[in-house]
Symmetry: C3
Subunit: 154 residues, 3 copies
C-alpha cells in the first residue's frame, strides 16, 4: 500500500496513520509519501525558522508544523474543536498522533518526505523527526504505487 | 471498487455517489466506507444529541450531521452558495444526495460506517439511516480495497 | 494512471500535475479527469459569465476559474500566502501551473472535463483552454481507472 499524505490536518493525519498501521498489522508493505502540508506532520515540534532567503524564511514562519500544531479540517473553532477532539480521543483510549507515528515506525511503515516540496519550502533531512526516511522524489513514489494493491491520496 | 468517504461536504458526497452509482451501473461491486465527517452523510436527519459523557455529547451537538446539514466545501457563503447549488441541480434534473443514497442502495452499493470513528464520536448502528450496513473496521476496508481495481479516498 | 482532479486549489493542482508529468516521463499513460472545482484549472482565464438561466449565470460569476484565480487551500490570507507561494516557486525555478499544463499536454497526458459537472455548471467545450480533450462522463473515467495501476482522487 502507498499513501500520499498531502494534507496537514489532525483528522486527515489520523486517518492516514489508522489505515497505514492497520495495513502493516495485516502484513502489507506500507509506504507513506508526505508532500505539501503533510510534511508538517513529520516536522520536529521544536523546529525553527528555516529555508534560504527572505521568502522561504517568511513561509517557514507561517508554516511551522510539528504534531502539536496540527488542527482539525472542520470545527477547529480557534482551537476549541481541536482540543475537544483530543480529549474525546484520550477518553476513548485512542493513540495520539505522536503515538501513531511511533507505532507506524515500529511496524515497518516507511515515511518519506517528498523532495520537490522540500526544495520549494527549504526543508532538508534535519527538519524532520527521527524515524523518517531520506527525502525522495515523485518518481520514487510512483515506482512504489505501481506495485501497490492500494494507493490513496489523503 | 472501494471508496473511503472521509469528507462530509455536499460536493464531495455528490462526487462519491456519482462515481459509486456509475460503477454499479457498469456491473462493478462497490463498497463505500464512511469515516470521520463522511459519517454525517449517513446520519439520520432527525438525529439527537448522542454519545457517552459530556465531551462526546458536546461534540455530537457541534457535529449533528444528516443530509440536510451538508454544506459545500467552497462557496458555502453562510448558506447562499449551497442553496444555489441545490437550485442549479434541481433545474438540471440531477438527483439530490438523498435520491443518490436510495439509488446506491437499490443498485447494491454497500455503505459501511467505520467502527474506529464511530467509537470516537459515540455513534452506533441506530445513529444511521436505514439501508446502511453494520459498522466495520479499517481491516474490513483494507480487505475490500486489496481486491479492488479502483480505490479512492474522498 | 488515472487522476480525478476534484479540487480547484493551486497547491492541489500543482500536486496533480507534478504526479501526472512524472508518470508520463516514466512512460505511463496518464489520464486526468477534471470535475467540480477542478474544472476551474482548465477554464480560460478570460472566461465570461456562462450558463443558461439566471441561476447558472450567477453561479458562473461566483466561480469564474482560470489558472490566475487559483488560491492555496491553506495560508491564502487574502492573497498574501498565494502570492508568496508563487514567489517561492519562481525563486526555486519551479514551473508555474500554466507551464505544467503545457508540459502535460506535450507529454501526452489526457485532460478531460467531466460531463456531469459541466452540465450542472453550464460549461461546454468552448469554456476550456486549448489542449483540453472533449468532455466525457464518469463511465469513461471508470473505464480508464479499471485499467490503471494507480488511481488518485485529488
Amino acid at each position: 500500500m502507498t499513501i500520499v499524505v498531502f494534507s496537514g490536518e489532525l483528522d486527515k493525519a489520523l486517518a492516514a496513520f489508522i489505515i497505514a498501521t492497520t495495513g502493516a498489522s495485516m502484513g502489507m508493505d506500507v509506504t507513506m509519501f508526505f508532500t505539501f502540508w503533510g510534511l508538517n506532520i513529520l516536522k520536529k515540534n521544536e523546529a525553527k525558522m528555516g529555508g534560504k532567503g527572505f521568502k522561504q524564511k517568511m513561509f517557514s514562519l507561517l508554516n511551522k508544523g510539528g504534531t502539536k500544531r496540527l488542527k482539525l479540517s472542520h470545527f477547529h473553532m480557534f482551537g476549541l474543536g481541536t482540543w475537544m477532539m483530543k480529549l474525546v480521543m484520550k477518553d476513548s483510549h485512542y493513540p495520539s498522533i505522536d503515538e501513531f507515528i511511533t507505532m507506524a515506525k515500529e511496524m515497518g511503515v516507511k515515511m518519506i518526505p517528498c523532495s520537490t516540496t522540500c526544495g520549494m519550502f527549504g526543508l532538508t533531512d534535519v527538519s524532520f523527526r527521527s524515524g523518517v526516511e531520506s527525502i525522495a522524489g515523485a518518481a520514487y513514489f510512483l515506482g512504489e504505487a505501481r506495485q501497490s494493491k492500494v494507493t490513496l491520496f489523503i
